[in-house]
């Protein structure tokens, strides 16, 4: 880092850092400041989330009323909804792009990109990321990926429509269906940019956490948010490159006529020349990324909720070390479970058994985390802020969605449940809703840190309750469709006798989805209104211990004027017996909290222990410390 720029004239005396002029472009567009990049990721993520939600409402309308015409659809979608009815090809494109945007653009980039960027330098005590330039590049690659993905809605043949997992041959044979043509090519280009973006981001996060922590911030004093972002970034670094390998082979198959994934394909009366490849190999490469990917989605949300729950329960997080070890356990296990997506591909039953065991073992660290959340809430002095409600909502979804994971992880049960709505219900609860709730908890909690203003709490409560109830109303009934064998991705339930009885349920689910979508208006209004007109935030609105709340509210490049604060203690000293306030920030040394120090605070430092003992002898306890 050669220069650190300040745009704040009050900080002239600032130690070793020079000035350089900030223009509109360098401040808001090509910014290299991690806080601004975080906001860029967040706002782009929110826009993509709104788009993906809109797509889901479109296909929900089709599922609920397959026989009715909606003229407004034709107005918006033109020939893709001729006569006001969504065409089957476009229906497939809708579910594909909905999944792609939600998994990658919202819950990977929008979630990690926002909160890793915002919180890593602020919570470990660094001036910025290891490489601010790569960080900027990471955002702009992500932005380009978004634009290219959306541009596929403006081409003749429409977007990719082979599902977000883009299994060959649909994704490889360009003539297979309209979405296999240019739309699929755009999907692949967008994805390559996206992977480049998340690698640049992830590499930066890991390097920053390992190399740039402030004085006193050893690994075991890091907040759980940082642990979660750290392990998430490692997951990304180790798994995304495998997707790149798979995508490169796919591009060769599509564009040059190789046969990595193709063999024995007949289209109509044409026999394709490709021989010897295997589509199963794509599934292996894809799910080697794809399974860690779902933990890339959920782990930052888990980290955020750990922090939010502890702050708002005014209690130390229960089992801090167990929380970290369970995150590490999830990280390691996530690499050896990908086969559970492929139980029905003709896998050797013995191998299926192995994948089943590793999959079920993931329930252990997940349960550790769940019980630790509940134990943290137990007898806490809970403050039900909107962020806290969303964090508790995450725990709820994580439990109810996680339980069905145990069903699906079972190789024999999966034969029945594979590719049914049971799977849809499972992952929309455990990684979809849970991760979105974690993200929203983060937005409500750190909004004051990002924009210097508070969000409206009443609108927050409205947003929470409507979304929470609607999410359960949408996804819970889908379990029963799945148990009845209703397959996912089917265009209309009217064509199959056994599916007809579920039509009324689909109508119900669609109304619930519309309610959930409308609830987001409360959030969007609250978010954008509060950026400009919200109540000005105090320095530390949630009375939190972590480092980001010690930095000045007005943003300055380099985060702290003068020295970066030193850290003396872990971040979870809430309601510590013997201390007058119910929180002790990490920057408060033990010498200022003699009345509340405990023997294990000194980590075996005998001199400090002696000083403490002497102080305790000189100041005998007269009242009940409680």
């Amino acid at each position: 880092m050669s220069t650190i720029a300040l745009h704040d004239e009050h900080n002239h005396d600032h130690a070793d850092h020079g000035h350089h002029k900030e223009t509109l472009i360098s401040k808001y567009i090509f910014s290299m400041d991690h806080k601004m990049i975080a906001k860029q990721f967040l706002i782009t993520g929110i826009i993509m989330a709104v788009i993906a939600m809109g797509l889901s409402i479109l296909f929900r309308i089709q599922l609920a009323w397959p026989d009715q015409n909606f003229p407004f659809l034709e107005t918006f979608l033109g020939k893709w909804a001729e006569g006001g009815r969504i065409k089957p090809d476009f229906y497939l494109a809708l579910v594909t792009i909905h999944g792609t945007i939600m998994v990658f653009f919202v819950l990977t980039a929008g979630l990690s990109g926002t909160f890793s960027n915002l919180l890593i330098p602020l919570q470990v005590g660094a001036r910025d990321m290891a490489s601010p330039f790569l960080n900027m590049l990471s955002y702009w690659f992500f932005f380009m990926a978004c634009v290219i993905m959306m541009s596929s809605f403006f081409i003749q043949t429409g977007p990719a429509s082979g599902g977000w997992t883009v299994y060959p041959p649909l994704s490889v044979v360009a003539k297979a269906m309209p979405g296999s043509g240019l739309g699929m090519t755009l999907w692949l280009i967008s994805m390559v940019l996206f992977v480049a973006s998340s690698l640049m981001g992830g590499i930066n996060y890991v390097s920053t956490i390992l190399n740039m922590r402030t004085k006193g911030m050893d690994l075991w004093k890091m907040p759980l948010t940082i642990w979660a972002f750290f392990l998430t970034a490692i997951l990304g670094i180790l798994s995304f490159p495998v997707l790149v390998a798979g995508v490169v082979l796919m591009v060769f198959d599509r564009s040059f006529g190789t046969s990595f994934y193709l063999s024995d394909i007949v289209m109509g009366t044409d026999i394709l020349p490709n021989e010897g490849g295997s589509p199963i190999l794509w599934q292996h490469l894809f799910w080697f990324l794809g399974h860690p990917e779902v933990y890339i989605v959920i782990m930052p949300a888990l980290g955020i909720s750990s922090e939010v729950i502890s702050v708002n329960a005014r209690k130390p997080i229960f089992g801090y070390h167990a929380m970290v070890y369970s995150l590490i356990g999830i990280t390691v296990l996530s690499f050896i479970v990908w086969g559970h997506h492929m139980f029905v591909t003709g896998m050797n039953p013995l191998l299926g058994g192995v994948f089943m065991i590793t999959t079920l073992i993931i329930a252990v660290p997940s349960a550790v985390k769940t019980f630790n959340y509940l134990a943290t809430l137990w007898r806490g002095n809970i403050r039900f802020t909107p962020a806290m409600l969303f964090a508790i909502g995450l725990v709820s979804f994580f439990i109810s969605g996680g339980l069905t994971g145990i069903f699906l992880g079972n190789a024999s049960l999966d034969i029945n449940l594979h590719d049914t709505y049971f799977v849809v219900a499972h992952f929309h609860l455990v990684m979809g809703s849970a991760a979105i709730f974690g993200m929203l908890a983060g937005v409500y909690h750190w909004f004051p840190r990002m924009f210097g203003r508070m969000m409206n709490a009443k609108l927050g409560y409205l947003h929470f309750w409507l979304t929470f109830i609607a999410a359960y109303l949408v996804f819970f009934p889908l379990h029963f469709l799945g148990l009845d064998g209703v397959p996912r991705r089917y265009y209309a339930f009217t064509e199959f006798e056994f599916m007809k009885k579920w039509l009324t349920v689909n109508v119900f689910v669609t109304w619930a989805a519309i309610m959930a979508a409308l609830a987001q208006v409360a959030f969007l209004f609250n978010f954008f209104y509060s950026i400009f007109k919200g109540k000005v935030a105090p320095q530390n609105p949630w009375e939190s211990n972590t480092l980001e709340w010690t930095a000045p509210v007005e943003h300055l490049h380099g985060n702290w004027p003068g020295e970066i604060p030193t850290v003396y203690r872990w971040p979870y000293d809430y309601s510590k017996p013997g201390h007058d306030a119910d929180f002790i920030p990490q920057t408060v040394p033990f010498s200022q909290t003699m009345s509340s120090n405990l023997p294990h605070d000194f980590e075996g430092n005998e001199e400090a222990e002696k000083i403490q003992q002497e102080w305790e002898l000189a100041n005998p306890v007269t009242e009940n410390k409680g």
Binding site: M1, S2, T3, D16, A130, S131, L134, L199, G202, I203, N204, V206, S207, T208, L210, N211, M212, I237, L238, S239, F240, P241, V242, V244, A245, G246, V248, L249, F252, F256, G257, T258, S259, F260, P273, N274, E275, G276, G277, S278, L281, H284, L285, F288
Partner: protein, 185 residues
């Protein structure tokens, strides 16, 4: 060393890139292993001699790069630049030989597009590796430019170290790929 220039976190970034690149080639080679195991056959070729020569050339380029680093430690800038130039020339020679190797494979009928994905695979991995070589040449040229522009020594050393980490990595990577292809015919 200046007070404000800390190369450590950025060098770490290069190492992390090396890790992710290794994983990508791990993905490629595991594709090959699974493919070959399920078909009961690999590419079945006698690899072109040009691959042997290119392997020797890339090892030589690593040696000249080490010599450049040593020269820089002794602050012998002219020797450093000469060694870097030789490395660049060897890198270009490596690229030419790879194209030669592909040419001779095409002449024997083992083309990129065909019904043996294992043969296509040789083109894909050597091509992806060649992209890394291009990036590596970029880093060496940035080290050269740093040396010519007479930047502070710490920065010249930083650029040199980054180029070295990456270049030795792609050297070892090529040896790995070559041996892998030899052993898994």
């Amino acid at each position: 060393m200046q007070d404000t220039f800390d190369p450590k976190p950025r060098k770490f970034i290069v190492w992390l890139f090396v890790v992710s690149s290794t994983i990508m080639f791990g993905g490629f080679t595991s594709y090959y292993l699974v493919f070959a195991a399920s078909k009961g056959k690999g590419h079945g070729l006698v690899l072109p001699d040009a691959f042997i020569y290119s392997s020797l050339v890339i090892v030589a380029s690593s040696i000249t790069l080490v010599l450049a680093s040593r020269a820089l430690k002794k602050l012998n800038f002219s020797l450093q630049r000469n060694m870097l130039w030789i490395t660049v020339i060897l890198a270009v020679a490596f690229g030419v030989m790879q194209f030669n190797a592909w040419g001779s494979m095409v002449r024997t009928g083992a083309t990129l597009v065909g019904n043996n994905a294992a043969i296509s695979f040789i083109y894909v991995v050597s091509g992806m590796h060649l992209l890394h070589i291009i990036a590596g040449v970029g880093l060496i040229i940035s080290a050269l430019a740093g040396s010519y522009k007479s930047l502070p020594v710490a920065k010249v050393q930083y650029r040199m170290e980054i180029a070295s980490i990456f270049w030795h990595f792609i050297d070892i990577l090529w040896i790995y790929l070559y041996v892998f292809l030899l052993l898994n015919r």
